[in-house]
Symmetry: C2
Subunit: 350 residues, 2 copies
């Protein structure tokens, strides 16, 4: 990594900072509490796998956070299980519990399976399990941030001077870094951030993180993007993805598809920042769209928005088909969503 890159990563705000997003420390997993940011910068300490799983289910962290927190949980289990007769059994139980927390983002499963593989290899090679998993965690984390930085540099190239960039939800380190790089190269973008109800990831995470990185930012409500486009304020639409399928469908926070349709009407290109498609997901039918507790739609930061007799519905993600996607931005470059198989193998783990 270049010195420039190190400096950028070190400036990442609390929920994204390499030392804070999730870490293993003294027998516990510490997770930056995204529910309390930007009002407070505090971490939640989890002493066992169940506490980590509950934290992920309760949205203490989301997006790139759950895979990172789950990886830390494996290290915690490996430390606790070092003297067990079958230490891998505890890791497998942890893996199954953690995979079940959020069904849509397959990154969680992929990271955990990588951890189990590292553990099995360590056992075969008779290396100490805990130390091996700690090394694997550092390696996983390092790869995540290097990939985010490479993806960010490519995404920043897509931004033109003076662009208005619409995003959705919280597109994690790659997007925040991309906008910071565009800003520092003098392109002076303005990022329009929909608040992303019901959890307000846009209002609470994306907008404050961009502001702290020195990027001009305007928070709007989730109904405003098409009007911003009609006003000529938006030149690019960029989001992350919870999953990109091999046939180019983008699964991301609900609301992403609505804006992608509007972007198409206004001839605004939609770019998806991604770690790459999931080879285990040939198409959208392979992805489970999580439906969360409908009651969560009836309140905002704990305050009721309506009465309890009103029924609600809460699908947490939606699916944008490849015809609405201008490019999948990965560390390999800007890929045609219809030709992902050319660059990524259709089977095996990436």
């Amino acid at each position: 990594m270049t010195a420039d890159g190190e400096e950028l990563l070190a400036r990442l705000p609390f929920p994204l900072h390499p030392d804070c997003m999730a870490r293993y420390e003294d027998g516990s997993v510490l997770i930056a509490d995204r529910r309390r940011f930007p009002f407070e910068e505090v971490s939640l300490r989890c002493g066992d796998v169940e506490e980590v799983a509950a934290a992920i289910e309760d949205m203490v962290t989301q997006g790139a956070g759950p895979p990172m927190a789950a990886a830390c949980a494996l290290v915690m289990v490996a430390n606790q299980a070092a003297t067990d007769s079958d230490p891998l059994a505890g890791l497998r139980t942890a893996r199954d519990r953690l995979v079940a927390t959020r069904p849509t983002n397959t990154g969680l499963r992929r990271v955990l399976d990588g951890g189990l593989e590292a553990a099995a290899t360590a056992q075969t090679e008779r290396r100490p399990l805990a130390a091996s998993l700690r090394a694997w965690l550092e390696d996983t984390k390092g790869r995540y941030y290097r990939r985010a930085l490479r993806t960010a540099r490519i995404a920043a190239e897509l931004v033109e001077t003076g662009d208005g960039v619409l995003t959705m939800c919280f597109a994690e380190a790659a997007f925040v870094l991309a906008m910071a790089i565009a800003q520092e190269s003098g392109k002076d973008p303005t990022v329009y951030v929909p608040e992303t109800r019901p959890y307000l990831q846009g209002a609470r995470l994306t907008a404050p993180c961009l502001v702290r990185m020195g990027v001009r930012t305007r928070l709007v409500t989730d109904g405003m993007p098409a009007f911003l486009m009609a006003q000529g304020r938006i030149q690019k639409y960029m989001t992350a993805a919870d999953v990109v399928t091999m046939d180019g469908h983008v699964v991301n926070k609900v609301g992403t598809y609505l804006c992608a349709i509007a972007a198409r009407r206004h001839q605004i290109p939609y770019y998806v920042l991604s770690g790459g498609p999931d080879p285990a997901c040939p198409g959208p039918a392979a992805v489970v769209i999580e439906e969360r507790d409908p009651a969560e739609v009836r309140s905002c930061r704990g305050v009721p928005t309506t009465t309890a007799d009103v029924d609600t519905y809460y699908p947490a993600f939606d699916v944008t088909p490849p015809d609405l996607v201008a490019g999948i931005v990965t560390e390999q470059g800007v890929l045609d969503p219809f030709r992902l198989g050319d660059r990524y193998p259709r089977s095996g783990r990436t």
Copy 2:
């Protein structure tokens, strides 16, 4: 009006009820406080024009409420000014202050100008001003509800058995009546209601009103409509309009246009319930899109959603072009948005 119609109107929930939306009583204007519904059913008492104007600006009422409250305010002024040497002067001052409260909805101006005309006629004919304006108010209110009921019956005809109907914001009495009529005729619609941030008119007004009228209702967030469409849950999209221009553009709560684009992609017809186009608005350039205090985007029911260092932007309305509109539903029938001039005169007051 039929007995059926009277019965339906009498069942309208508090914010829409003919006796509650806004009324003149004992020298004051009483306005159903839509900020406190559905948690409370209370009215705000306004003792002078400035208090009515401030109530409209503070969103105590919106949609059809401001014209009704403003009409009541004219009656209040006429009662107070009965002994003035130039009682019309006070009415004109009141008219100007009230028109300035909300720039987008031209219904406010049209109702107030109607009241000034009624007052001038009364003076010319030497009839008592206060009594004449009270009669005008009753007439205005009666016409509003009869028109809402006729429009509702036509809109209910457009609903087919089992339809999912998407709406946006609070489409007032005509929409709530339409869904109640569709329900009572056995069509059993399900209405999907986006919460409509930042003021939550969907969550606080539309959804509770529909539930109280016995209509199956599901509250969602503003980012979900396109995904509901992709799931096949939506067969019609119906909203009100703050203004319909003579060339068929629909000005309504921001978010309306976003869903209209998505409806077109999914071949779902979009119907607009309206009192008719505004002959004084040939096209969208004649409409001022109100921009409200950006700080309102940074909170939800008084609770901050982000930190104060985040810039926000709050256009309150958007504009949907006629190519996305299947029909303008008025008391005259379902009109082609491209041919409104055939039914409505291009000049003069309707």
